[in-house]
Amino acid sequence: MTTTSTATSSATSSGQAYAGAPRSAEHRLSMDELAAVIARDIPAGSFVNLGIGQPTKIADHLPADSGVVLHTENGMLNMGPKAEGDAVDPDLTNAGKVPVTELPGAAYFHHADSFAMMRGGHLDVCVLGAYQVAFNGDLANWHTGRPDDIPAVGGAMDLAIGAKDVYVMMTLFTRSGEPKLVPQCAYPLTGVGCVSRVYTDCGVFDVGPDGVRIRETYGVSAHELAEGLGITLS
C-alpha cells in the first residue's frame, strides 16, 4: 500500500512547471487516515502541540498508553479531548477556542510562560496546517497575501520556530491541482526552514536544508509524485 523512495530537490527546478495532481485520487489518504499515520510517528511520551484545524484529529489516534502530553498555547499541558454536554466549561478551551477537558497531571500557566515553553524548544513535536511548504522547510500558513485579506498570525510564527520537530499536515495539492509542496513559497512566510516533515494525502516527505526526500507515497508511485512536484529522485 505504501512505497518508500528517496528524492532530493533539483536546485534548478523551474518552480512553475507542475504536472498537476496524480490521477489515482481514490488511493489518497483521507485526513482521518493521515491523522492516524502522524499519530503512529509521534514517539511515546512526547510533548506535542496540535495546530488548529485538521491536526487536532491526531489526538483521536494516539494510543491510550502513548503517554503523549498535549500542549495548548493558551496555557495548558495535558489537555484532554473535546468537551461535550455538561463537561463544557467556557474557561477551558483549546487554541481554536473549542471547549476541551483536563487530564490528571494537567498544569495551567499564563501566556508568557506558555510561549516561553514553545520558544525555548521544550516541545518535542508541533503539527501545523499549511498553505505551502518549501523543499527547504520554509512554511507559509498564516496569510494568503491577498490585498483584501485581513492578516492574522495568532501563534503560528511562535509554533513554527519553537518545537524540536515541526510537522505539517495538509493535502498535497490545492483544489485546482497546484502542488503545495514547492521549490519556494509564493505566500508570505510563517517561518524560515522550520518544517522537518510534511504529511500529505499523497505521501510523506522530509524537508530541510538538504532538500526534499519522499518517505512514503499513497496511491501514487514515488516517480509520479516526483514528476508532479518537479523534484528529482536521486
Binding site: T72, E73, N74, G75, M76, D89, P90, D91, L92, T93, N94, K97, V98, E102, Y108, F109, H110, H111, A112, S114, F115, A116, M118, R119, D138, H143, D148, I150, P151, A152, V153, G154, G155, A156, M157, D158, I161, G162, P188, L189, T190, G191, V192
Partner: protein, 231 residues
C-alpha cells in the same frame, strides 16, 4: 503601587480612564474576557483608545461592542480575523481602525518585558517573515533574532476568578491566559472577579498574580457570556 482598592461597581472600577489611553484587555476569545469592565468602559465614554488584546472582538459583545461604539483608534493583536470578528472586519475594511498584527508569543513576551523592566529582547519569532519588516535583526550563536520592545499599558482590564481583599488573584483554567502578564505591564490594573475573599483564604503557594500588580478589584455577578455564533 499601593494597596489595591476593592470598588463597588464596574463603573467605579473604570473611572478616570482618559481619552487616548492604551488599554490592555485580557481574554483569549471569550475565556477571561472582562465583559463587565468593557461594558462599563463603553458607558464611561473614553475614546481614541489603543487596545492590546489577543483578538479584536468576538460576536457583538465585549471588545467587539467597544469597537462598534467607535471608541478604538488602533488594535494590537495576534488574531483579529476569525469566524465571529465581523465588527472588526467591517471597521477595518472601511479604514476606520488601525491594526498592528503581533505574533501571539511576542505579544505576551513584550508585555512581560514591560512589567519586568527589560528594555528590549532578541526573539527568534518572525525572522524572515513580513512581520520582521523594520525590526533590527541580530545573529547570536548562529541563530537569527529580532529586537522586540516592551508593550506598556496605561490600564489593564482583566478577568480573574478570585481576589482576596489585598488584591491577590487566582484564575480558572485557560481563562488565565494574558491576565497575569497584562497585570504586570499596566500603570493601573483593573480586575473583575467572581468573588472577593478574605486575606488568608487563598493559598500563598497558588497565588498567580500577587497583590502588588493589582489596583482596583470589582466583584461581578456573572462572568460567562453565551453568545450565539461567538466563541
Amino acid at each position: 503601587m499601593s494597596r489595591a482598592e476593592i470598588v463597588e461597581s464596574a463603573d467605579a472600577a473604570v473611572a478616570g480612564i482618559e481619552d487616548g489611553s492604551t488599554v490592555l484587555v485580557g481574554g483569549f476569545g471569550l475565556a477571561g474576557m472582562p465583559f463587565d469592565l468593557i461594558d462599563a468602559l463603553i458607558r464611561q465614554g473614553a475614546k481614541d483608545l489603543t487596545i492590546v488584546s489577543n483578538n479584536a472582538g468576538n460576536g457583538d459583545v465585549g471588545l467587539a461592542a467597544l469597537l462598534a461604539a467607535g471608541r478604538v483608534r488602533k488594535v494590537l493583536c495576534s488574531f483579529p480575523r476569525q469566524a465571529d470578528s465581523w465588527v472588526f472586519d467591517g471597521l477595518y475594511r472601511e479604514g476606520k481602525i488601525e491594526l498592528e498584527v503581533v505574533p501571539q508569543g511576542n505579544l505576551a513576551e513584550r508585555m512581560r518585558a514591560a512589567g519586568a523592566g527589560i528594555g528590549a529582547f532578541y526573539c527568534p519569532t518572525a525572522v524572515g517573515t513580513p512581520l520582521a519588516e523594520g525590526k533590527e535583526e541580530r545573529e547570536i550563536d548562529g541563530r537569527k533574532y529580532l529586537l522586540e520592545y516592551p508593550i506598556r499599558g496605561d490600564y489593564a482590564l482583566i478577568g480573574a476568578h478570585l481576589a482576596d481583599a489585598m488584591g491577590n488573584l487566582v484564575y480558572r483554567k485557560t481563562a488565565r491566559n494574558f491576565g497575569p502578564v497584562m497585570a504586570t505591564a499596566a500603570t493601573t490594573t483593573i480586575v473583575q472577579v467572581d468573588e472577593v475573599v478574605e486575606p488568608g483564604t487563598l493559598d500563598p503557594e497558588a497565588v498567580v498574580t500577587p497583590s502588588i500588580y493589582v489596583d482596583r478589584v470589582v466583584q461581578v455577578a456573572a462572568r460567562h457570556y453565551t453568545v450565539q455564533g461567538a466563541r
